[in-house]
Subunit: 426 residues, 4 copies
């Protein structure tokens, strides 16, 4: 097979996407651009909208942001053809069907950015080379621009080698990984129904250039929840007893949920990350909003935490006679990489001259929604892996000064295509 | 009319009752003894049991204590005839019916003691004169032995003057005033249905010998509530998540109820006086008990406090998935003394040589369940008063060293009989 | 004396000030305009800046708002002479000194607006007549434009009658009444040191046109406090134990302060009006801000509430190992109107044909910082009053649709000038 | 060596100790009886009192119980010689010194009972055979009577084989294992200073007859803490603001400590097992007591939990202006069995015909204070094991109906003596 990768093309793509970052469920320009490239490479099946998104499982999507982003995407030159097809849901799945029997492999690349303003510093390469973010307040500070790029590199390779391949390959360009909001909706569509292998990865994170963490462990299952209380205002001096105090309900919710019993069978986490309540100093507060997350060492323990939170919200709402609503804003599960795929990744990585450590392990102790996709494939009897593509970086993920070693985009394409060459060779 | 009072008889009665103190709803010996005296004086109607007690409104009564106290009363020589009649409920009402038209007046005397061990000190008159409590751990340390005595003194006077009286007189010997537990059950019987005037009083309290507080003000309405939670135990190390934590529920109840909003229309109070929870250090606590009280400047505000407490108990029980029960253990309301009766008391008191201040006012800021009886009479169109019969004392009420100036028993009888002479003269 | 009032002039002033509302401590254009008018009327002493403001007692003033408002005031034509004199502090005090012996009287008019957007409705008279707010998001929705107007009307009358007056008159145009933030700084200057009578009022509120509430009662003492916690962020999944949780500290602060014990000697209030905490869902929250207020039936009870809050903030900061700061953002005290001034107001009002009820009473159960000024005068041996100038209104105070019966501006000037005619006649 | 064990002697001992159960730090009769037996067997060094107990590390010992138990022990025939030597501290250590070079081995047997009333049921063997508890309310319901018995059996074997042994053997009869209160004081004495091997075990627990859990894992480090608050009483109606509410402080302590952040590096536990507070319903509560425990996957994590609790207690005491004290009532650490000793136990057990499973593993997820002794030996460079001696039982540990398969006492002696034969053979 043709193993040549056009490195300067990868750089070009990455820098283009870096300039137009879009947040989760708002990646309209990004999706259109990806689809344009895929189409131009020759992909015939590019699925979008409810073909790949089950609306009932969409998490943390704000319709006003969606609408504004569509407008902006048009201004920035997005192809209206795709916008129509998307039905207001971002992301796309390109399917390559060799027409020959063989395995079905799904590769997943996440495409959203974070709410970070890119540094203006002259030391920052995107500033020096003129490819920094054109969308104020938004930045690809987590490296998903790199993920898109690797996906396009793999797509190109597929088309270059299409006659040598068997089975089916699905390239999933997933929206809204930040906040673990996007995967559940794809998992609940039919995209993965026939998939035998699921492969995904993150660039950089805890590994420098030359290292592949082939066995990332200790994913925490997690659910992200928003809680909203609505009470009744009243004058705090003259008639406080007529109020229904949403802020007080929220405070008691916080003191209750942190006290959810530890679980005898594994680790748990609870974090109330944001609390906003009240309208004015001298008014009994009528509204409150809590943004929290729970985690567990496994799905069942995370579910226990979530169930306890909901139980307490109901109880507090009853205590303070306020209305409540809870909304799941994101979710991920735990997953264990399959040894077969770990071995394949390590074998491929060990053959790359730029890789000195092809087989590192790492305890993640955090959450990633690719696990929802990977677990679904495993539950169907398939195999899944999520690995770390080591890459030097200039700052922590999500910081204004973040940039990564672009040479590792090539490494990424090499590993994915190596896996495809292994699994889908005719 | 004959206004002579047999002072040495009063002293004898008081010292006898002082030796056999019984707590609320356990005054079996006391009630029998009162009934014996009333019968021997010539009272023909002595009501007891469900004639005067509505069982649905009995508060804070423990059946095991009741049974033990009946046994003990028998041992101490209680008359079995009365015990039969009582149907396990203490207290009695003696009715004098002149057979002539006139007003119906109810006088109320409370008869229970407190859980205090009487001092062994030689300085304590009951020890010097050999009439201290024979019931270990119990003591008439609030002066209700004096109240009984005044009631008997008044009863004797009625019989001595029966031909000169008109209307009806009801002498209510009420159980369980401590904890404001007894009045509600009498108020819910028919005892007060035909009453025009209601008169009651307390000895000593905030007034020394020579002073009558004719206008006691600022009674607080109150409800005493017990709350019990039942959860599920679990090993705190191995499986804490299987427990249902009653202690934690109780703690959150406490933090919630103290935060009940102040009321715009008047003062409120909340006190969680006792909390007991848990079985052992390393077991998730399965039981918890809270003893609390709420108060309000008036009935409606007290009801608001009570309703909020119950609402919060329900909410906390839901939050922590524990069972709950609430039980009203006592209650009292607010009451305003009627000016007509204030004037009568002041006039009578001002004619007694031992009284130098017949007309004091005092803000009580506490609770007394005679108010339930008094308010019922007022709501029927009658008039009520609750006054303080000043008496020097040797210690605070409810202290081991408490004793009062016995000479004021005579003052008490004089005021009550003065009122009867005024209202019920032929 | 000349009792004619130029009503059309009052209307013109009110409508001019209505168009340029400025919030507390930002009333630069307003103060300049008032000073221009006072100077043109002939006032020679117009005090400003630290002559009338003690910076140590300035509450709830934001320097960035101050700076922006100065810029805007210049754009809107404010007189730079006054801006220099103000030293960044708003408000002014005009002094009329008759040169003759007599009483010193202080009249106080508050000048700030509220953060309310004026309605766009055609039914709203300011829209019909073209004098609605030109400052987006700000509105004279409490009627302080009317207070300024009455002050200017009184100023004009003083100059018209200056030869007939004795003693001294001080017209205090006070900043930042909203949030009770401005009076403390004036009280702590020397402005009131020689004052014998203090008079202030509010338009409309609880009284319609034709009514004067000469005896406003039940002012609640209050303190407005901001509390800020600073903790330490940490990843909520990987290392939550390294965080210092400011949000959790804030929640526990809320549950503690609502539970501050009721006070046996009078009413209290506590309201946590606003709580904002946290940076993101998956980060241990490092910052939290609470805006609260306490109130008490009198100064001592309010102080008790404030002391308890501060004690609890210290305790919670210790529990959660976070840094804290508390800042007093506003304050007012309780005050009892002096009978002498009540009588004077009633007498004057009863002589006005448009007044049918010159002597109403009302329990305020709210707070107003004129009380700080009034109490200071009373504590010096002087006399004070705060009355309500009844005026029909189209909506509640602080609502977008608020407007008041402008004819009562004349009534206001008549009452103030009537009082001056009474007290300061030669 | 002589491997014969006198089984009927073991039964006799066990049933004797079963009749006289004593709680932790009160095992005076028990210690005297053990010492009598040891002395009669020929042990010359029997250490007691401060020779083996460092008073600074004694946890959860109540002096009044100690004094009463000494009296009772005398009545029950305890040898006064030993009582003198004990200096009011229970437990003893018998030392066998072979006089020859070799290893020093410490075996530890815990000797206290629990606060459980033994069942009266006829189905209960101790009732059928007449050896049930003579100490009302106390029972060897955890099997420590068996532990003592095994220790005496081993002692007897040592004396029978003393000429064939090398090195030193220390038999530690430890008080107060229940509540993990006794080990710390022994560890802080010099008893273990020269020890190379530490061996201890528990009978029954999670293993039935025929099974040895040679590798008990997941011991949780733990600290048991009592917290006491002292506030100030006040009348809840008249002057609640004068109180200092210890119950409210305790409730807030509970809500705070349950919310201590999970630890990123391992499991934690928190349990408030008992809370008692308050004196009466209508009094602001002046006293409160909390009994809690924390646990952690390791010593550092447990220390983190303990430090957080103490920090919160200080903070709450400051918030509510109450006095506090904290007292450590017990403690244990985590420990990992040494492979060398696991292998030895398994080898010995596998040679016993009655054992079918000599090598089970089990995750304990609970706490045992033998770990403090074992860890100390390991930190000195020695080796330690804590294993489970499987034995059928008739009920859960700590239940009234608990009894165990006495035949396994012989198994116990066989394993311990097998280990000594292996390690201390000449």
């Amino acid at each position: 097979m043709n193993m040549n990768i056009n490195f300067s093309q990868l750089i070009e793509w990455r820098r283009e996407f870096h300039q137009y970052p879009e947040t989760g469920w708002a990646e309209f320009w990004t999706t259109c651009k990806i689809a344009d490239y895929l189409e131009s490479m020759g992909f015939e099946q590019i699925l979008m909208g409810t073909e790949i998104i089950n609306p009932d499982f969409v998490r943390g999507r704000h319709l006003s942001t969606v609408r504004q982003s569509i407008e902006k995407a048009l201004v920035n030159g997005a192809n209206p053809k795709w916008l129509d097809k998307m039905q207001e849901f971002t992301g796309c799945v390109a399917i390559f069907d060799s027409g020959k029997s063989g395995k079905t492999v799904a590769l997943r690349f996440d495409i959203d950015c974070v709410n970070v303003s890119e540094t203006k510093s002259d030391n920052h390469k995107p500033n020096q080379l003129g490819f920094s973010s054109k969308n104020e307040g938004l930045m690809h500070a987590c490296g998903h621009d790199g993920h898109i790029t690797v996906g396009l590199g793999v797509a190109q390779w597929i088309m270059q080698n299409k006659d040598k391949l068997s089975g089916k390959i699905k390239l999933i360009f997933q929206p809204a990984e930040e906040g673990v909001r996007g995967a559940a909706a794809i998992a609940a569509s039919s995209v993965l129904d026939d998939v035998n292998y699921f492969i995904s990865s993150h660039i950089s994170f805890c590994a420098s250039s030359g290292t592949i963490i082939s066995n990332l462990k200790n994913f925490l299952s997690t659910t992200k929840v928003d809680i909203r209380y609505r009470g009744k205002p009243a004058h705090a001096g003259a008639a406080p007893h007529l109020g229904r105090n949403a802020l007080l309900a929220a405070a008691h919710t916080v003191t209750q949920v942190y006290g959810i019993s530890r679980h005898g069978e594994g680790m748990t986490r609870i974090n109330v990350g944001v609390l906003k309540a009240g309208e004015g100093r001298n008014v009994v507060p009528a509204t409150a909003e809590i943004q929290l997350e729970v985690r567990g060492e496994n799905k069942a323990i995370n579910q226990y935490m979530y169930d306890q939170v909901v139980q307490m919200v109901k109880g507090v709402a009853l205590s303070f006679d306020v209305e409540y609503e809870t909304e799941i804003m994101g979710e991920a599960v735990d997953m264990v990489n399959d040894p077969e795929l770990i071995a394949k990744v390590e074998k491929i990585a060990s053959q790359l001259p730029q890789i000195h450590t092809p087989n590192a392990e790492y305890a993640f102790n955090a959450s990633e929604d690719a696990t929802i996709l990977g677990r679904k494939v495993q539950e169907q009897g398939g195999k899944s892996i999520y690995f770390i593509l080591g890459a030097d970086r200039t700052a922590e993920h999500h910081q204004s000064e973040f940039d990564f070693d672009e040479r590792q985009l090539e490494t990424g394409v090499q590993i994915y295509t190596g896996l495809l060459a292994d699994i889908n060779s005719k």
